[in-house]
Amino acid sequence: MSTTDAATLVRFALDRRASSFNDPEHRELRARLGDEGFRVEVHHVADGLGLEVLYAGPSGLLLSARTDSPFAPRLEDYPLTVRSAADRLCHGLIHVAVGALAYPRADDLEDRDRVIRLTVHDVDAHLWQMAERRAEDHAGTDVPVADLTLEPAWAAWKRQRRAGQTQDGRAHPRTTRRWVEVAFDWLVEHDLAQRVGEEGGGTYRLNRAHRALVAEVTSQRLVEALRQADDRVG
């Protein structure tokens, strides 16, 4: 019975419509997390599904999927068309930049109460600025053209279109600015942010769940992946 209950709680967490605020069964299961035995059961169920429980918030569990889990978000589900390696990189960089701007230092990841507001412009400008700075540092060194995947990431970013319109006056869908907006909207879709205003091309509020996710999953995986890439080279 207890396993069924634990699995039900995990199911609630995977269903974004199921907040424990408006479902008595969910609320009751959420309250049982105080019991050590039940907590262990929930961890086992989640683990078997390739999920990690980040924390138990008031509206339910916050789950993150391991890369091999069927619940892991996939690049194919991303609401933008990925046409090239450079596209894929840029979308990833945007998500890293959102985290880096919101919580630049380890200390910022610790401060669980503070809410961060970022605008589309903030993130877009930060990436452009960093790319420009790198370009200045490397002035005079030529970028290899034979194999575009050898091009440095900053140069690939600089090749993108920053903003613009199509010939008939609509916002161009393939600009970094639009991509940043889509990235934020994707966070909103996963209940990690809210759009709170129109200033700066769209102002977003990142919530506690986002901070927890970046602190315990995103940043950890990125650092590990960077380390492994270094090991391969070295």
Binding site: R66, R74, E110, V115, M130
Partner: protein
């Protein structure tokens, strides 16, 4: 609460503010200080010997910058007739007024109060503009303050320091609501106590002054001092809230023994003093004769003192329980392996290194971590109904521009193919295809309805085009049925053809 949702008394305070009160004077003094500090050499403090007071004053002066900046740029935003500086001070006051240990001010409420205050400054202004001004003021208060200043160190050498703080911050409460809290720096602007030491002595001094003023019967002044006492007490509560929160987090990181324990002990001692002094003052106030003239003033002072007393008792309890929690958690930690998690400096340790890598390398890293950018969600395997709806969803960016109409005819390359046939042939083929509108049909059954090979070819062309159509409502869609065609006309898989339903037109509501 009043009918517009503002806490009682807030509107009185608002009126007081707009009539230029002590807070704007305080801001004026600070602005002067700002100018003095800058005239002394753009943030060069204490030329030959360390001077903490001067540093604290410099920081206090810097704190009003976002508001001054707003005041200066108001012309560019078309807000000439508004006074953002006043509104900023008012916002701080509203937030401080509503701050309690576990709660802050509701951002929406503060926003609407500010919009109404802006409306008092410029009667008749549009509500959209008032909201924009309110948003601008709140935005300025939420911006981080950052400054580099130089000061002499112990040896007299000039050393630069970086300082960051903010006037107000937005926090998320445990139950997922959002709230505004004013920082120490913000309350500084209102009452002018410079740091935690300062705050503690300012609190003690205010209570003493209050006592002496009451003794001498100067109740008007005493009433104002009592308001100061309340602001100080709220600021102190905010500092303690932070301290307690930090203590709870510190089990994992900070060495609490060295840093936090002394702070907690000091706060504990200070609060004990406050509680006993304020309880004594409250008693004395009760004993005073409440005549007709002094009565209301004494009652108002007494309210404030009681309020401070209640808060300080709460804080006292919070600090005490925080010490116990910490000891408990430490005992608990002893049975567990220390968590392997080391938090990361995302900007310098991740983003920068990524930008320097090659596209291939960095791309592999970020896409490998893709699953970590958002929370887990069930895989998208929609049911047939959901699939159909999703396919029918108009593409987000594909809205016709002005003057453009969506071409409903066949794709051009297919049209070229089909028009090779005679009009009669095409007509016959489309008549047969029309049968699909009622029920799905297999390609084989459609081909069986004609003996004319040309009509058959047109049907095959249309069916093949439907295999990868632009999926819009009403379009033809074909899927492989899994059986082979036995018709001699073409070879290959048989197709099942459907007509995608047309959605009922929604009535357009005109405003």
């Amino acid at each position: 609460m009043t009918d517009d949702g503002a806490p009682d008394g807030l509107w009185d305070r608002l009126d007081g503010f707009l009539a230029a009160d002590e807070a704007s004077r305080a801001a004026g003094e600070l602005a002067q200080l700002d100018a003095d500090a800058l005239a002394a050499g753009a943030g060069t403090i204490g030329l030959t010997a360390p001077d903490d007071r001067l540093v604290a004053r410099f920081k206090a002066a810097w704190c009003t910058r976002p508001l001054h900046a707003l005041e200066q740029s108001k012309g560019q935003r078309g807000w000439e007739r508004f006074s953002p500086l006043e509104l900023g001070l008012l916002a701080i006051d509203i937030v401080v007024e509503q701050m309690e240990l576990s709660d802050g001010a509701d951002p929406e409420e503060v926003r609407s109060l500010l919009a109404r205050a802006a409306g008092l400054q410029v009667p008749g202004a549009e509500s959209g503009l008032l909201r924009a001004v309110a948003d601008g003021v709140l935005g300025a208060l939420l911006e981080p303050l950052e400054v580099t200043y130089g000061a002499a160190d112990a040896s007299g050498a000039y050393v630069r320091h970086r300082w960051t703080d903010r006037l107000m911050e937005e926090i998320e409460t445990f139950d997922g609501r959002f709230q505004l809290r004013a920082s120490h720096a913000a309350v500084n602007i209102l009452v002018g106590a410079l740091d935690l030491d300062d705050l503690e002595s300012a609190m003690a001094a205010t209570t003493a002054a209050l006592e002496s003023l009451i003794k001498r019967g100067r109740l008007g002044v005493a009433e104002r001092r009592a308001q100061d006492a309340r602001r100080l007490s709220k600021t102190y509560a905010e500092d303690i809230r932070r301290l307690v929160a930090m203590t709870e987090r510190s089990v994992r990181s900070v060495s609490w023994d060295a840093e936090l324990r002394p702070q907690l002990q000091r706060a504990y001692a200070h609060l004990e003093d406050r509680v006993s002094a304020e309880a004594a003052l409250a008693h004395r106030l009760e004993d005073l004769p409440h005549d007709l003239v002094a009565g209301p003033q004494l009652a108002s002072i007494s309210d404030v003192v009681q309020d401070c007393l209640r808060r300080h008792r709460e804080l006292h309890a919070a600090v005490m329980s925080s010490q116990t929690t910490l000891l408990d958690r430490q005992a608990e930690q002893a049975f567990r392996a220390p968590p392997a998690l080391r938090l990361v400096d995302l900007d310098s340790d991740v983003l920068r290194p990524l930008l320097d890598r090659s596209v291939g390398d960095a791309g592999r890293i970020v896409s490998g971590c893709f699953a970590g950018f958002v929370t887990a969600r069930p895989p998208r395997v929609p049911g047939l109904a959901a699939l159909l709806l999703r396919l029918l969803q108009p593409e987000k960016d594909r809205q016709p521009a002005r003057g453009e109409t969506i071409d409903d005819s066949l794709p051009s390359d297919l049209a070229d193919e089909v028009t090779r046939f005679s009009a009669k042939t095409i007509e016959q083929a489309t008549a047969i295809m029309a049968g699909i509108d009622d029920a799905p049909a297999s390609l084989a059954s459609l081909l069986a309805q004609t003996d004319d090979p040309d009509v058959g070819r047109v049907i095959v062309l249309l069916a093949a085009a439907a295999f990868d159509p632009e999926l819009v409502e009403g379009a033809l869609m074909s899927v492989s049925s899994g059986t082979r065609l036995t018709n001699g006309l073409i070879g290959g898989d048989d197709l099942t053809l459907h007509r995608l339903p047309r959605l009922p037109r929604r009535e357009r509501v005109t405003a």
